[in-house]
Symmetry: C2
């Protein structure tokens, strides 16, 4: 008898992973948090039934949420990450020499606890001298920190449950207000093939707030549709047209590089049409 | 009770699709051929248990196997497709004005019959004046047609069963010998995240035969890992560095465009290292 975990990515589509051992399963005030050891992808973090992180392909998501904005911003000293309690985005952000501080605001202590135990290679970043970890509400944190950050990464779960508000126009306004002049914001923005409507709505809500709103893509095998989108917002710089700063540590990365940066902003015809204003 | 079809993409990973109706299930001399109507992706063609084509995302595979080579070749008059009995690759190839003939060589009549019945929008291309459909062995066809084609597309199934020989060095030699001078060959080359070893071996075997061997990627939700690779081979032109000819019909395509063409050849760090000679 083998044990399989299946994520219903839509009501009619699922990804199923063979599980060696169930390691953690607890439901806290915000969500159910599970960790399993899979045969193919190493340890797997599941929140409310959705795949969040696997040991084997987490590098794609974390490199791609962090490096495009940090390589475009001329001097990203202060970075805020909302969500991202697994620590992967902090790990990537602290690599940039220009970055002086990375503040992580994760609402759910249970996620942090589970990841500390089962994803130590990611949460090790919490002890980096540049990193500060707060268990708090992202909304309230933004209210208390106007014009405070050069780059804000919204490393949220899907727009159901605790992260639903992170897809609301009110939240986008607060992110905008917490950016310093010339700042960049990045939102994880779901799979464009299966959830195009969400992205279209996000972009409609973000365009009045930012001069430039650009979608980019990354290949993540365990996420719905096998690829994921991020939305990069800036005031003036068109992120799809500006060349990124070369990164001194590029050779140590597993996904991101200068070629990938530029390529990621190129969209297939169906997506260009979906996002046409 | 709902009905689900699951493809074991690896022994430990599966994609599962809800099925409305089972439409076709016959095993012929080469393979088992199934067609189902799914809830999320329309009609689905399954060969020996593997997802081949769905109505909803077939455009990605077919546009991306055909257009990069056809947009790079200065005058692709004669095109050969080996495999591809669903007709999607023929549909794309005949769109090019320079193309005068497209020969499809599919070994399995059963695939053609099933697709004629359940994928009429794809097999309609068989009646195009430029198209010729042969039910024959690709190996033998190549032997009989030395230096005959400007572009050869190897639109095969996975390297098990009838298509196993299409991943052999002997086959690569025959493809090379059937190209006219300056010709291009494209091989579907599996998912690089899950089946990197196959691609590495293919490239090692192809490099002695062609001056240029380049991998490119496309996002295909129903394929293992959610993305797929193709290998483009040429004598002199480095396909990753030459700009493609603009296509008059680009606006009618759903995936391919000039931006995507260039972006598709940009590889993540882990793939650059996998393919380093």
């Amino acid at each position: 008898m083998t044990d399989w975990f299946t994520e219903k990515q839509t009501p009619h589509l699922g990804l199923t992973l063979e599980v060696k051992r169930r390691l953690f399963d607890r439901t806290g005030p915000y969500q159910r948090v599970e960790v399993m050891e899979t045969v193919e992808f190493g340890n797997l973090l599941v929140l409310d039934g959705c795949v969040m992180v696997t040991d084997r392909d987490e590098f794609v998501y974390h490199e791609m949420i962090a490096h495009p904005a940090l390589a475009l911003h001329p001097n990203p000293e202060r970075v805020l990450i909302i969500g991202g309690g697994d620590g992967g985005s902090v790990r990537e952000a602290v690599k940039h020499e220009a970055v002086k501080s990375v503040t992580l605001v994760e609402i759910d202590q249970l996620v942090i606890d589970a990841c500390r135990e089962f994803f130590p290679a990611l949460t090790a970043s919490f002890h980096h001298p540049k990193a500060q970890v707060l268990v708090a509400d992202g909304f309230a944190h933004l209210d208390d920190h106007p014009q405070a950050y050069d780059v804000i990464l919204v490393d949220s779960t899907d727009p159901v449950g605790p992260a639903e508000v992170l897809f609301s126009p009110a939240f986008f306004h607060k992110v905008r207000a917490s950016l310093r002049p010339g700042g960049f914001a990045v939102f994880q923005s779901e799979n464009p093939f299966l959830m195009g409507g969400i992205i279209r709505k996000m972009h409609q809500d973000l365009r009045p707030l930012f001069g430039q709103v650009a979608l980019y893509l990354a290949l993540i095998p365990t996420y719905p549709g096998g690829h994921w989108s991020f939305t990069l917002c800036a005031d003036q710089v068109n992120p799809a047209q500006v060349l990124p700063r070369p990164l001194s540590f590029e050779d140590s990365l597993k996904y991101y590089n200068q070629g990938i940066h530029t390529a990621a902003f190129q969209l297939p015809g169906y997506l260009r049409r979906l996002l046409a204003p």
